[in-house]
Amino acid sequence: MSIDETGQGGTAAPNSARHPHGQGRDLVQLVTPSGERVSHPEFDYWVRDITDEQLCSLFEDMTVIRRIDVEATALQRQGELALWPPLLGQEAAQIGSGRALRLDDFVFSSYRENGVAYCRGVDLTDIVRVWRGNASSGWDPYAINMATPQIIIGAQTLHATGYAMGIQNDGADSVAVTYFGDGATSEGDVNEAMVFAASFQVPVVFFCTNNHWAISEPVRLQSHIQLADRAAGFGIPSLRVDGNDVLAVMAATRVALDRARRGGGPTFIEAVSYRMGPHTTADDPTRYRDANELEDWAAKDPISRIAALLERKGLLTDGLQQQVKDKADAVARGMRTGCTTMPDPEPLDVFKHVYSTPNSWLDRQQDHYARYLASFGDPAGAVSEEGAR
């Protein structure tokens, strides 16, 4: 089976099919790559309240999470983390949407939305806890109203939809927001989630970051139509925005949240962006993608773009740049310290929290293993590869 590069395939295709994943005319954009603020008849309204000061803080947040990402990648290269999934290039998609949320909204994300977690106020040490192998989760989901990031592709979209069913039952006006990628749109769970969300008209936002690559598979392998167009088949309204334009992302997210809060049901957002780095630190994109493609997208960089906007507005002062850099460095230092000083878990922690009530099978295994460990002078010896006997 080969991929039809034109996207025209053998079946009738919509107007945009020639370049289904390019920047077609329906891509909402409020700031051009050169930093020009362009007006939009519908979306300007949704960012009308964004002051210069807020623009500067969006620039700061995006810079900080890029710095976090760079630091975490370095920690992995230095052997402090086992793995890290970089978000390089997706800062606008994450900050623009994350900053649009209320505290009582609830996020169900994939493993790459560390920028969204930053917006939720996560302790940065918790972000790297999982990747250091110290636990299977970092934070308490209820402390920041964000679920433990999901590794099974697309599974979290159902959790968000179920959570939204609960919001609806409770008569609340909060919203469940689920993040997933272009690859996830091929998963059954994502499609089932959209069926349920549409049937019950629950307050959920499907935020799809189309970063063009699912490890080595290009988005055109996942879909011959624009991902946003899939939503129509479920009866779900969709928005397709420039995912590297933080204002456009924020506007679209606010449109979707507002609809959900008013009882208007789900919305699908496709944020068109690009995964500038590898899938994870274990990946090597030079094996499967063209360097020219990377160059094209580098010219559309989300942080350069908001910086250019600030410059046009006379806001990108040396003072601001220094302040943002200092903040980013301080945050990265804090995360590094938290990471390298994190205490290792205790051996018997391996049995903790499997069940919330006593379980005769597991309690017996734990008891036997505790006896086994106790039979060694140094429990670490019991699990060394060469053994202690």
């Binding site: 099974i152 159902l158 939809t161 069913m165």
Partner: protein, 336 residues
């Protein structure tokens, strides 16, 4: 005490749970106006509303996956999987999410989800309607797996499962749905025998016969027939399949010295293997013979004209009992 069918007893238990806890919600296919294909949820949507007894679209992964989201939100979802063979589309959500979220979140998020599954054969149905998939789930840490064998337990254990803060697979022996029994519907599930305890149904001295779900009745019939031949069988209804209440089984086998375990599911890697191994480990010097398994074959569930060959019946169980006792049996003279 009220006489009611097995199905009605589950219905009564579900009703109690819906009454007692506003966070209990039911999700499933056809569970509303129809009352479920087995009528187990009959009348519940009418009495509790469409937001608490939810007819869902036909997508099992989504039924379980949205239950996870509801649990995140503080609800206590009860999911109906229409037939045993329809649970596989939900397998990932059960194994990767429901079973692991409490562990993954270091105890921050509970998954008090009950997944009801009509299981087992003997009703002459087409493929995918008669399976016994319990071992997939007993093998999965983080889940509790129970089955019930009489209307009283059906009534009590469903309420215990729903109030349990761990996820519970509740397997319902569908060929017993119409069996009647006495149910004390005033029995408080909080003070009743806990759902993870096995129950000794008949005291015996020669053989311990372990059964669960639909085969408990068959095992009791076999014990009655054996007593006519002067063989005294102790029948144990396991009730909980994960964890198995080994203390009860061990105490019995230490007295009888012989163990037969029976289930409809295929033999290899089945629960019988687990019970046989564990009891051998714990009772080796009390055993007079190797444990015997009387199970379904390692085949896809067969077409209904042949299903009674696959399902352990009274005589096959007694043949196994004869093997455990060293009496003449169908395998006499075979080595190993």
């Amino acid at each position: 005490m009220t006489q009611m069918t097995f199905a009605r007893a589950i219905n009564a238990g579900l009703r109690k749970s819906l009454e007692n806890d506003p966070k209990v919600v039911l999700l499933g296919e056809d569970i509303g106006a129809l009352g479920g294909v087995f009528r187990v949820t009959d009348g519940l949507q009418k009495d509790f509303g469409k937001h608490r007894v939810v007819d869902t679209p036909l997508a099992e992964s989504a039924i379980v996956g949205t239950a996870v989201g509801l649990a995140y939100r503080g609800y206590r979802p009860v999911v109906e999987i229409q037939f045993d063979g329809f649970i596989y589309p939900a397998f990932d959500q059960i194994v990767s999410q429901v079973a692991k979220l409490h562990y993954r979140t270091r105890g921050a998020v509970s998954m008090p989800i009950t997944i009801r599954v009509p299981f087992g054969g003997g009703i002459g149905s087409p493929e995918h309607h008669s399976e016994s998939p319990e071992a997939y789930f007993t093998h999965t840490s983080g889940l509790r797996v129970v089955t019930v064998a009489n209307p009283q337990d059906a009534f009590t254990v469903i309420q215990q499962a729903i109030s349990c803060n761990d996820p519970v697979l509740y397997f319902e022996p569908k060929r017993r749905y119409h069996d009647k029994g006495d149910v004390d519907d005033a029995l408080d599930p909080a003070t009743a025998v806990p759902m993870d305890q096995a129950r000794v149904l008949t005291h015996g001295t020669d053989v311990t016969l372990v059964a669960y779900g639909p085969l408990v009745k068959t095992a009791l019939d076999a014990a009655a027939a054996a007593s006519d031949e002067g063989i005294s069988i102790e029948v144990i209804d396991l009730r909980s399949l994960a964890p198995v209440d080994y203390d009860t089984v061990v105490a019995s086998v230490r007295r009888t010295g012989r163990l037969v375990i029976t289930h409809e599911a295929g033999q290899s890697g089945g629960l019988g293997a687990e019970v046989a191994a564990s009891i051998t480990e714990r009772c080796f010097y009390h055993l007079e013979a190797a444990p015997v398994r009387v199970t379904g074959f390692d085949i896809p569930y067969p077409y209904s004209k042949l299903e009674m060959h696959h399902l352990p019946g009274l005589d096959r169980i007694l043949d196994g009992v004869d093997r455990a006792l060293g009496r003449p049996n169908s395998l006499s003279g075979l080595e190993g």
